[in-house]
Amino acid sequence: MKMDLIQPFIGSLDTVLAEMMKAPVTIADVTMEEEGYRRKGLAAVVGFKGQIEGRIILDMEPSAAAKIAEYMAGGEVDPAESIVPETVCELANMVIGNAVTQLNDRGFQFRVFPPALLTEDQCARIGSDSEATILSFDTPVGVVHLNISMRYHSRRSGERQPVAVG
């Protein structure tokens, strides 16, 4: 996987979380995964297709998601509330959307699909057919993971066909 495709996602997660929490975010670990993806907590996936194809999973502990929901909602949030998984989806949407914006403005053409929450079964299926890079970030509320799997197709500049996410 090309590092220049991954870099915008690192910058975007840093920017979005730092903007919301007013605190720095640092990379704690980078690993590769070739087998089924094991969800760490609450996970949302965003798929894309075009010159770059693949999917990104944003994953975090429910307690971290609840804390982020509090930052985003501006009030106390119980980890059991339905707003918490919604927060993970919206956070994935913002992080991935911002990164995709940078890549698109650099000339990569592809289409992004709405975020969806991942179940454990879906995680196993998603990871089984492709290699993924997993970036783990230390944040003030706990570790946030980005699982990135994508391929670059240089001959598909005009392709903009939708596919189902997950």
Partner: protein, 149 residues
């Protein structure tokens, strides 16, 4: 969050009424909270472009805040259809995907402005003030060629 001077309609001084369109319940709640700090009222909500068209007709809002990436019908197509039916509609796109191609497409279909997520309240407030002060027939630069007469 600092207090904002309440936004009001030019024609009668009443609070500005918003239609909020986003497939994320969380995003709708977050934007609702924001517009309420601007003195606005939420006239309706929609989770996709198709519902947004129906809700626009039902609520006749002063401003639509519209996401782009949504199931069933995306925001850019919804803008086009709303502006076709209601040429004076004021639609502001609110999306995390803010690349030039998307912004231009939205403006060409009749959107008045674009805000990238995560939304900063002060940025959204200034854009709303600008859009509310536009004359109804005024389109943003570059938007005229894509407009349906």
């Amino acid at each position: 969050m600092k207090p904002f001077e309440p936004l009001a309609r030019k024609r009668d001084g009443q609070p500005v009424r918003f239609l909020i369109v986003d497939d994320s319940v969380f995003a709708r709640k977050s934007i609702t909270k924001m517009v309420e700090t601007f003195g606005g009222q939420v006239a309706g909500e929609a989770g996709d472009g198709l519902t947004a068209i129906t809700e626009y007709g039902r609520t006749n809002p002063d401003i639509v805040l519209m996401d782009i990436t949504m199931p069933q019908m995306e925001g850019i197509e919804a803008v086009e259809r709303i502006v076709q039916e209601h040429p004076d509609a004021r639609v502001v796109m609110v999306s995390s995907v803010g690349y030039q191609e998307n912004i231009l497409a939205a403006l060409q279909k009749g959107a008045r402005h674009f805000v990238q997520k995560p939304v900063k309240p002060e940025v959204l407030y200034e854009i709303l003030r600008y859009v509310l002060n536009e004359e109804p027939a005024t389109a943003p630069v570059g938007a005229s060629e894509g407009r349906t007469p």
